[in-house]
Structures are given as structure tokens and as C-alpha cells.
Symmetry: C2
Subunit: 444 residues, 2 copies
């Protein structure tokens, strides 16, 4: 073998198992991922890698599964600072008497910066490499992502109420477009419109969003049909179910990321499939707030793209995507009354590639394929909790804990190394969270 024939690359990662997600259901044993310039260039047997590549850095993970970084398709990162502030309450009591009054007093650039940092720390430690964000001050969130090397879609909020971010609908749109322009071409952070919900956004704002999302070719990230009450109130108020109203406004299309969707008729499911709508299933939030059950398996069978999200930490109370995809897989079987529903391989795809599809990022992330960004997570499987091991995908979905995530790379940059975050002062992040705790406890 002539070593000069070996191709120079940045990184070669070998693992006992690699689960690329695409092709579906495949588990590669004793393979390696070759990375150059942040991009996956090859996926090949470890035995062949030494001759073919001369990596600058070589990592042999041993008894780990290497998977695409997890994609949290719906969250409100700064709400991490409200984790466990108020539990065991119905959605509207929780929002109106606890969350909104506190948020009204604290939301600002500092809260968003400190909460986003804590959320990114938690997500990275749990193997999440991308999130779909929905909150105020998306510019501050985006800056945190760029600083910490985290991939995201920053939601550009639109709501008919004044906030610390914007006072009027016009100002929401002005600021949205400014953030969009600022992030244009960014390697890590993309944008989506994030109108809060049908019950807090007017038809005229939705019409502007429709026009702008067409022009800018960006997704629309919307809470939709979260509860039966929302649907019932809309019927009495607008005379139509919110989904029908969105259809009328031209928003039911392949750029729509519809979050929650616990109340769906068969006709609405068919319409989602035909229009190419992505649905984000947030099972733990829906259970905790007793919002209803998203028919995840029925959507899947109808051909709808289903992604998974944790929702914010105030209603979950974590950003644990491994836990969330397990809950999704378990709950779907109960709801469908079919133990073969939403199987392990499908649950993993929903939390990776189908999340990327929902966010319009499937050309860039969500699977381990040559040409895609090296967004990777390694999960250690040789601990008692995941032994013996018959099927790595089963172990990941039904037994592994996020604390078994050892390493994470985003765009080829190592963000977690053997359980330790890279280039992040975790103590400083926690100290800031502690100060917010004192301030928020005093006003709640």
C-alpha cells in the first residue's frame, strides 16, 4: 500500500455501529465516517479507511453507535430558565397566570441570551445538533448559536400583542426582515416565520407572512390545533377550524411546520399529506398539559412528514430528544392500539432526517451521507442499561439515556468530547441561570 495515495482529510471517526438513517433501517458495523471541511466525504469499513484516508485527527469510539445529530423540531430555548416553575396546571391557567406574567417582566436580550445558552448546553449534552426555535429576540438566539457552534432555524416571531421585542405588527415584520437579512447565507442559522398561533395572529398578518415566506422561500413555524379548546373557540369565533382558516389563507403548503396537531379529522390528515405539510409531534408537552393526542401513526401512514420536538422546558421539562423520541414511539403504539406502530427505526428517523425535512434542511443535515454536514452524535452502549445488545436501534430508542451521549460534532466541529462540552464555560452558564432563578422566584 502506498501511503502517498491516501487522501488528506480532517477527521476520521470509527465506531462499532454507524446508523446513517438514510438508507432507512441500515446499521453498519465497524465503519468509519470521513470528514473534510465540515462535510461527510465518505462512510466506509474501518478496515478500508486506513489505506484510503490520511486524517488530521482520528477518533475510535469503540462500543458506541454513531448517529446523525438529533433535531429538535420545536422548542422555545430561553424558557429553559422557567424549568419547573409551575407544573400540573391546565394550558391556559399555566400560560395566563404563571408563564405570561413572568415573561412580561423578564423577556429581553439578557433573558434570551442566558436561557439560550443553557438550552444549547443541555441540547448538546443530549446529542441534539439542531433546533427549530420559536421565541422573541431571534437575533440574540442566533448569536448564541453562532458563538456555540449550534445549528438552528431561528423563528421570526409574529403576534398581535406588544412585547419587549416589538410593539406593533409592523414592527414585528420590520424586525423579522432585519434578522433575516442579517442571517442571510449563515452556515449555521437559518430563518423561519414564527407566527404564534391562529388565536393570537390576525388574517392580515398571516397574509403578509404568506407573501413573504413565498418571496424569501422560508418555512412558517406555527402552533396549530394544540387543544380541543383552541379548535372549538375558533369554530365559534371565526366560524371555521383553524386548519381550514390556514387553508383559506394559503398557508397550508410544503413550507408549513405545524406544531402539536392533536385534533385532526381524516380529511385534514389527507390535506396535510397532499400539501406536503410537516407536523411536529411534541408528545411530552401534549401529555403534561393534557392537550390531547397527536395521531402520529395515522399521519405517518397517510404519508405526512412527522418530526419530533420537546417544546419549551416549562412544559416538558427537558430538552431531551432521546427521551422524547422514546415517548413518541411508545405513545404512538398506545394511541394507534397497535404495538407495531411507529417502530424504533422510524422513531429515530422522525428525530433526525424527518426533522431536517420539516425545517427545509434535508440537503444539509439529518442523515450521515456524503455531501451532508458532519452533524453527528455518539452514544455509548456498553453500560449495564443497554446490555446485552441485540439491536443497536432498539437500544437507542427504548433503553439508552441521553447521559450515554459521549460526543457531538456539528459541521465537523467537535462540540462534546467524551461527555465534556468544548469551548463552553458551563459553570458560567449555570451561574447565570442561578441568578435568573433568584430574580424569577422573587416575582412569581
Amino acid at each position: 500500500m502506498n501511503p502517498q495515495a491516501a487522501q488528506a482529510i480532517d477527521l476520521l471517526i470509527g465506531a462499532r455501529w454507524i446508523i446513517p438513517v438514510e438508507p432507512h433501517g441500515v446499521v453498519l458495523e465497524d465503519h468509519a465516517v470521513a470528514v473534510a471541511n465540515g462535510v461527510v466525504v465518505d462512510l466506509l469499513p474501518v478496515a478500508d479507511a486506513a489505506a484510503k484516508y490520511a486524517p488530521r485527527e482520528r477518533i475510535d469510539l469503540g462500543a458506541h453507535a454513531l448517529i446523525p445529530g438529533l433535531i429538535n423540531a420545536h422548542t422555545h430555548s430561553p424558557m429553559t430558565l422557567l424549568r419547573g416553575l409551575a407544573d400540573d396546571l391546565p394550558l391556559m391557567t399555566w400560560l395566563q397566570r404563571h408563564i405570561w406574567p413572568v415573561e412580561a417582566k423578564v423577556i429581553g436580550a439578557d433573558f434570551v441570551r442566558d436561557g439560550s445558552e443553557l438550552a444549547i448546553v443541555e441540547m448538546l449534552r443530549g446529542g441534539t445538533t439542531t433546533c427549530n426555535e420559536n421565541y422573541f429576540f431571534p437575533d440574540v438566539f442566533a448569536a448564541a448559536c453562532r458563538r456555540m457552534g449550534f445549528r438552528a432555524v431561528a423563528g421570526l416571531p409574529v403576534i398581535e400583542f406588544a412585547s419587549a421585542w416589538a410593539a406593533t405588527p409592523d414592527e414585528y415584520f420590520e424586525r423579522a426582515l432585519a434578522v433575516h437579512d442579517e442571517l442571510k447565507g449563515d452556515a449555521l442559522v437559518a430563518c423561519a416565520f414564527a407566527p404564534h398561533a391562529p388565536y393570537t395572529v390576525s388574517d392580515s398578518s398571516f397574509e403578509r407572512i404568506r407573501t413573504l415566506s413565498d418571496q424569501l422561500d422560508i418555512p412558517v413555524h406555527l402552533h396549530l390545533h394544540e387543544t380541543a379548546q383552541e379548535v372549538e373557540d375558533a369554530r365559534s369565533g371565526h366560524g371555521a377550524r383553524p386548519f381550514a382558516r390556514m387553508q383559506g389563507l394559503g398557508l397550508v403548503n410544503d413550507r408549513l411546520i405545524a406544531v402539536h396537531m392533536t385534533q385532526l379529522t381524516d380529511a385534514e390528515i389527507t390535506a396535510c399529506a397532499e400539501a406536503g405539510v410537516s407536523v411536529v409531534h411534541c408528545p411530552e408537552s401534549n401529555l403534561k398539559l393534557a392537550s390531547g393526542f397527536c395521531p402520529a401513526e395515522k399521519l405517518r401512514r397517510a404519508g405526512v412528514n412527522v418530526a419530533i420536538g420537546t417544546d419549551g422546558c416549562a412544559s416538558n421539562n427537558d430538552l431531551d430528544m432521546l427521551g422524547e423520541l422514546r415517548t413518541a414511539a411508545l405513545l404512538a403504539k398506545g394511541v394507534a392500539n397497535d404495538a407495531s406502530a411507529f417502530d424504533a427505526a422510524y422513531a429515530l428517523r422522525a428525530a433526525t432526517l424527518d426533522g431536517a425535512r420539516a425545517l427545509g434542511l434535508a440537503d444539509r443535515t439529518g442523515s450521515i451521507e456524503p455531501g451532508k454536514s458532519a452533524d453527528l452524535a455518539a452514544v455509548r452502549l456498553d453500560v449495564p442499561e443497554t446490555q446485552p445488545l441485540y439491536h443497536p436501534v432498539s437500544q437507542l430508542v427504548y433503553a439508552a439515556s441521553r447521559r450515554q451521549v459521549s460526543d457531538v460534532w456539528i459541521a465537523g466541529r467537535r462540540r462534546l468530547a467524551d461527555g465534556v462540552l468544548c469551548d463552553v464555560d458551563v459553570e458560567a452558564v449555570l451561574a447565570k441561570a442561578g441568578r435568573w432563578r433568584e430574580r424569577i422566584a422573587a416575582i412569581h
Copy 2:
């Protein structure tokens, strides 16, 4: 202060928070537990402890919550060796085509010893100090518990089929009574009858169990109303729902530990409350096998004692009681359509004190109270995933991972010290699990 006035004790454990579970909902800050001869003798402010006690060993846990050890009220420990062997299958296909054929070839003392050791390793690492066991070779299981210092109720199996444990109903009873005699007075391992299920046990065996459980004053641990199919088959076969059949046989009483109970009429719920039946809710197993939804909140409101179990690892796929009580708390809200259902404090009690009640061990374990055994688990809460912290019980139930369990004591004996098992050769346990994996994969 006269140091000679201090009382000699074995152990004093101080923690930022102690959650004794009894009284309900109480969180003690900066308190300590005093332990002598394996028993809790006092619970007092850290500031007062130094003057009052002269401990042989003193442990200051810092930012931890100290809770009663978790009680897994239904499991099949050796099935840990079948973790993830067959997933995403309906109950009867899973049992008849995968689990039972494999079990028929492997069940014996070696399988039960090695699987029990792996299960106990997993349970201890996750803060579980007691389990209610249901499997063959309860003598071998009991020996593993005694060797590893783990508390349990060993189920004495009764089933109408021959197995490696016993060939005939008579032999099942003979062996059951022999194990019961052998364990009489044991400090760690008690017994219960464990008839498999109404569809695998005859009336005459149930009658003998009823008589013997009266005489010996031990519980009866039974899978009951696990699926709609079970209830429907019984109606066509026996002409009665299984619960009614158990009522007719005199087994519906305060010694009955009824596991699963996903199919219940209001009258059956009332009957459970009146008779003092304990129900063990296994939410993840019920979801995974699409068995149905146990009406946990309705049972609680009716005054039924509800405990929580993981079921065996082959249908879960873990023995994670912190995860299971979270799923129980979340799912109960969804099923009851009430976000205030099964609140965090109640979920923690179901996984501790109410588990002890179900097992007939409430005088000995399940809460941190003077006079009870020092069965304790410490959960570290200063990691990013559980910060900021407003309410420790909320953090434990809705955010903490079992990997945050740092320390465990059973009867005052330290079993886990800062994440490391005491006096257990984990590598040897894993090596044996690895050998079973090879053998089982070859025959499956």
C-alpha cells in the same frame, strides 16, 4: 456544647433537600438523616445534627435531593437478558413467537442468577432499592438479592404449564412453600404468591393460593386485565371478566397486587378501593405492547393504592423507575384529560411509599421516617439538565435522569457511592450478559 452528650450512630447523611414522602409533599432543606443499625433514627436540620449525634461515618451530599429508595412494584428481573430482543410486536405475537420459545430453551438457575444480577445492577444505579419480582427460580433470585444487599419480594410462581422450575401444579406449590420456608425471617427478601395470569392458572390453583396466602399472610402478585383481548377471551371462555372470577375465588382483597389493569369499569374501580386492592401501573410496558391505558388518576381519586412498575426489560426496555414515574405522571394527565392529574408529589409517592404499601412493606420502607429501614437514594440536581431549580420534586419527576442518581443505601448499607456500585464486579456481570447474548442470538 458537651460532645460527650452526642449519641453514637453509624451514619449521618446531610443533603440540600430531603424529601421524606411522608408527610406528603414536604421538602426539608439542609437536613440530615441519622442512621443506626440500618434504621433511620432521626431526621433533623444539619445545623442541629453535629451536637446531637456522633456518627461513625458522615456524608455531606451538597446539591442533592435525598429520597426514599424507589420501589419497582412489578418486574421480571432475568428478562433483562432479553432486552430489545424483539420489539414493535403485539403482546401475543411477542410472547408466543419470540419470548416464550427463547425462554423455553434458556430458563434455569444460571439464566435467573445472571439476569437477576444484571437487573439489580441496573436498578441500584437508578435509585431503586426494592423490587416486586415475578419469575421462575425465585430461590436463585433471592440469593442474588441477599448477596448484593438488595430488597425484594420474591414471587413464588404458579402456572399450569411445566417449566424448568416445576412440572406440575403440585410441584409449583411444593417448591413455593420450600422457598417461603427458606426465606422466613429474612431481613431483605420477603415472598408473595405469583400466579401468572387468570388465563394460565386454574380455579383450583387459585383456591390453593387463596388459602395459603391467608395462612402465611403474604401478598398475591397477579397480571390482571392487561389487555382488552384477555377480558374478552375470558368472557367468552369462563363467562365472566377475570376480575369477577377473582372476586368469586375470594382473591379480591387487601393482599392482591393487581398488575396492569388497563380495562376497568367504574364498578371494578370501586370494588378495588373497597377491598383494599393495590394496582401496579406499568405505563411504558402498556404503551409498548399497546395493551391499553390504565386509568391511574381515576383509581387514585377512588382511593385505590396505585404503585408503579417497569415490567420486565423485554417489554420496556429498561428498569428505570425515575423514567417510569415520569411517564406515569405524564400519561395520567393525557388519559384523564386533566393537566392537574397525578401531580409530581403524588407520582413520587406512587413510586415509593405506595409501592411499599402494595408489597406489604410499608412498616419497613417507602419513606424516610424514624423506625424505617435506611433505604435511600440521592439524586444530584446541580447539572444543567435540572437547572435552574424552583421545586426539587418537580425537578426529580419531570427533568432528572436516573444517571443523576449518585448514592444508594439499603438498610443503611451503601450500595452505590458517587455513581460507583459497592462490592459488585460490574465487569463480570456484563461479561456474563455478553455470553448470554451470543447464546440467545444463536437460537432466536
